[in-house]
Amino acid sequence: MKVLIANRGEIAVRVIRACRELGYPTVAVYSEADRVALHVMYADEAVAIGPAPSRESYLRADRIIEAARKTGATAVHPGYGFLAENADFAQACIDAGLNFIGPSPASIRAMGSKTESRQRMTAAGVPTVPGLLEAAKGFDEIEEFARKSGFPVMIKASAGGGGKGMRLVERAEDLKSAFERVQSEAGAFFGDPAVYAEKFIATPRHIEVQVLGDKHGNVIHLGERECTLQRRHQKVVEESPSPVVTPELRARLGAAAVKAARAVDYYSAGTIEFLMGADREFYFLEMNTRLQVEHPVTEEVTGIDLVKQQLRIAQGEPLGITQDDVVIRGHAIECRIYAEDPFHGFAPSPGLIRHLIVPQGPGVRNDNGVYNGFTVPIFYDPMLSKLVARGADRAEAIARMKRALQEYRVEGIETTIPFFSMLMDNEDFHAARFDTGFIDRYLKSTDLGSSVDEEQKEAAIVAAAILAYEESQSVRLPEETDSAWRRLGRAEAAGRWRP
């Protein structure tokens, strides 16, 4: 198998690593902005597919399939984002004789529509949030549902996702205007004005279950991930297992997830997202028919490499693991490290990485997409890496994450590292007292910039004063000592042993 990776950044690198470990050659595709991106430099072959904007490169199914043809690739891994959940792309790969490393186009389609997936889940006996099962034919239908179920309700675009095209309505008098706004947003963003309504679950947690299915009808689950911590509906910290899920609840969640996957004849890796109320009741939210950004936390606690499983499943191998083989050990946490400035409203901070030190040592995994000297382009998702810490328990995982964040240094651009450092010190986070609104409330109530202590301040003043002094003296800082090891250090040790 020769695998073309139809993606960029850390996930493309992640897939290349798995392929290399299995001995499969890899083909990268790249836009003009990515000639020296890490995924290109780690691949065996690389093909240019267009200009920097995604719609002219990473979203061009035709050029990607042409690149596969040209290089003799026999399979395509879509990663996440871009074309990963595009059923037409999956079908086009299959039509071109390529093995699509993901589920069938039919599974993608079934789960791609919020209303269709809800209907199928309800039919399969998977709990869903009470709501309309189909797109509302008009405002009357929404109004009737709201009257029956009581407020608050959510109005959502049928084709929506990622926090866009949805609105919470707490009072009857706001219902009409919310309906109209979501309808117009749905038309504008997704090209489909259909909307529906759903009961709103207050202070919910976002819990998702990883499933794996093969092409022979075997489906298992790999436990849950806690993805409640979100900023503006985007996940920022994920962990596995969830601190609130008991073994009994895990078994129920897992059974529901397996049922959901079976209902759409699912194979490959997939994720069932559930909303969980304070009463620990859970409801099907949607299925992600691809690898998730946060898959590493599951890998760390189960010891199972999900990308390798995808590669094996795509080749028709039966799952080598039964449900009983899946044992959760320890705890893992992931922080998404972005090129954003947390002290200034998380403004994007692209640019040259002048210096990079990545955290190392025990219990630390960093799935990186960048390197020392790379220029983070402005065109794409500003994720630099996913930092994962593993521990014997949650407390050790948090302590390791904090230690790893302290070691992680990115000079030249701003990153979210200091934000996560502070979050790791938060009491409510330690106690796992949070819901999906936690981060946004935390950011409102906390002055991220205020916490410099007096000792650090004094050290900074001293450091700045000395460096300013040395510059003012116009004296190039001389060497500390004249010992041979130092002089030598600067000579490049290019000499060869010539006996």
């Binding site: 692209p350 794409y380 200091p418 900074a460 004063a465 600067r490």
Partner: protein, 180 residues
């Protein structure tokens, strides 16, 4: 590997005085080489210091013979950024003689010229020359990395000039709007 040490052979050099400003606080500083390191007095508090450069970007400060600080350093005019592992501290340093003049310049310049804080593309412009704006009011939208960022006015005032148009690509530091 470079590090600081006294100049060999030369006589003692008199301490250099600097003024440090952080937030509202202003302190006097004295720096002098001493032994193989430095003696730095901050607001009357004396420190024995050793400073060494690891690789030109990371530096190690040993304060008062024990406390160790790893930091990266970046200077932008009179602003010295000292980036520790989890916090970046900005220190303003001035030559005492030039301080008064500088302070006056800073104030006018900082708040009258609104600049791009990242590279990107201007997608919308909400103000025109002559418009009155209030502190915090959105003036234009700068798109970068799939996100829209609203650029707001730093103070109450009147727009003197709009230097960019919708669709235009801008670089970090480019002036976008000036206020009267």
């Amino acid at each position: 590997m470079e590090t600081a040490r006294p100049r060999r052979g030369g006589g003692e050099v008199a301490p250099v005085k600097l003024i440090c400003r952080m937030g509202e606080e202003t302190q006097e500083i004295e720096v002098a080489r001493e032994g193989s390191g430095y003696r730095v007095v901050v607001g009357g508090r004396p420190h024995v210091v050793d400073l060494a450069t690891a690789n030109g970007i990371l530096h190690s400060l040993l304060l008062d013979d024990a406390r160790q600080y790893l930091f990266a350093y970046h200077r932008d005019g009179t602003t010295h950024e000292v980036a520790f592992a989890d916090r970046t501290v900005c220190v303003e340093l001035f030559d005492p003689l030039s301080m008064k003049r500088r302070r006056r310049e800073d104030e006018t310049d900082e708040t009258s010229h609104v600049r791009a804080i990242m590279p990107g593309r201007v997608t919308r412009v909400h103000v025109a020359p002559g418009d009155a704006v209030r502190r915090g009011q959105g003036m234009l939208i700068l798109e970068a990395m799939k996100m829209e960022n609203e650029i707001v006015s730093p103070r109450d005032g009147v727009v003197a000039a709009v230097l960019v148009g919708a669709g235009q690509a801008v670089e970090n530091g480019d002036e976008l709007v000036s206020l009267e």
